[in-house]
Subunit: 235 residues, 2 copies
DNA sequence: TCAAAAGTGTTATTGGTACACCCATGT
DNA sequence: ACATGGGTGTACCAATAACACTTTTGA
């Protein structure tokens, strides 16, 4: 390769992942105990450096896979943090991603190496560097995106009920929705396929399971819907 | 400062700016003739490296100011480009911003040093590296954001008419809008202050000037509006 | 039989769209 | 007087929100 740019600084380039999960009760994030100095042992986001031969997207996938064993996960770059002194060790630029995973697909197997743990988004330990800013911003982005795009399904198992979907929305937006309007709205997207069986754990009557119509879903992901009433009141 | 991270690569970190302007006819972008090797003399986006003591936001502002002489410009980080071979000279991560400026505020004075020129977004020369991808993505982001946020005003002079605002929207979204509905929609935002005087250049009757209610505007910038009919048909 | 949760129905209101119409004025 | 673009009025339709109602079934 030819000469390099002269008189320019070069910085470490990392990715950090905010991994969202949902357990049927609370929106959660996955945190690890940092393995690197400085601040070894402190809680932090899962992250790592971008290797020579990969893009940031690839690095984010690799890192997420090494933590959870999962591939093909919804992941989205949302902001790059560049404050000169954000990392106390040396100047590091961090490209932040958020991921949505079905918490039940998460295997404990690999996580032990990282001492990973799920925390409620409303109550998690202090994080290193600017990671708390990252979490705050990721949550805002998730809310913003989810008002108009059908992405929250990524947090649920293959089969889920409408009441479960609604509690997920309510937890993400920290508010309550009318169940009648909610179910009509969701069904009107045409993304849901009603199953024959019911989930009887939540009530005596039982709630029908639904599955995502995956094909339809992929085609409609970019579409702007209106999934949440009065977004300006709650965001 | 303590030790650095060992065994990690470090890359050049740059910002690139997509500068949008509107001249009353066409949505335009500002391009420069590259001053650096490699590819010196080829058309490119305005960009530069992030200096040791500044954030990417600061770098973007500095670079935009050095090109246009303008400060306090609407600017938004929208994506970070990290393909390993995107820069042929050496590995460089580029944090991309888009800016919206009133094209008439732009001074030619400083631009001469950069051989800057305005081009229609629909017809501009080939650009270096992945800069064409950047422009494409910036345009999409601009459209996406402008469907629900009142940011296009940043492209207009202090005083503007509703017909001018409408042509701007029509040019950004490459479609036509009903003038009655458009004007009602815009006025209903409460962001516009009607002036006493008219612009008589466009017609015999003349169209009233409006100004932005700046205070109201700053407060409402984050709000989700619906400024464009049937966004899914046009995006 | 009753409590609790799922699911359906009903209605008033809003807001969007299309399109017709009136207005002002320079030529 | 009339063509041209600016601006207003209106009627229909679809989407929304609020809330009442019915269904199912385990305890």
């Amino acid at each position: 390769m030819a000469a390099k740019y002269s008189n320019q600084s070069r910085y470490a380039v990392a990715v950090d992942c905010i991994v969202f999960g949902y357990d049927g009760q609370n929106l959660k994030i996955l945190l690890i105990k940092r393995a690197l100095t400085p601040l070894k042992g402190r809680w932090s986001l899962m992250g790592g450096f971008v290797a020579k031969n990969e893009s940031a997207d690839q690095a984010a996938s690799r890192i997420l896979a090494s933590l959870t064993g999962l591939t093909d996960i919804y992941q989205e770059q949302f902001y790059t943090f560049t404050n000169p002194d954000r990392d106390t060790q040396e100047r590091t630029v961090s490209i932040a991603y958020f991921s949505l995973i079905d918490i039940k697909k998460y295997r404990e197997i690999l996580s032990d190496a990282y001492q990973a743990e799920w925390f409620s988004i409303k109550d998690f330990p202090n994080l290193i560097f600017d990671h708390e800013d990252m979490v705050r911003m990721a949550k805002k982005r998730l809310q913003y995106k989810a008002t108009s795009h059908a992405i929250l399904f990524e947090l649920l198992p293959d089969k889920f009920t409408l009441p479960l979907l609604q509690s997920l929305f309510e937890d993400v937006f920290e508010t309550g929705f009318d169940k009648g309007n909610f179910s009509r709205k969701m069904l009107s997207t045409g993304l849901l396929q009603k199953q024959r069986d019911k989930d009887k754990t939540g009530s005596k009557k039982g709630a029908y399971f639904y599955k995502l119509d995956r094909k339809n879903y992929q085609q409609n992901l970019h579409k702007i819907l209106k999934l949440v009433p009065n977004p300006n009141n709650i965001l």
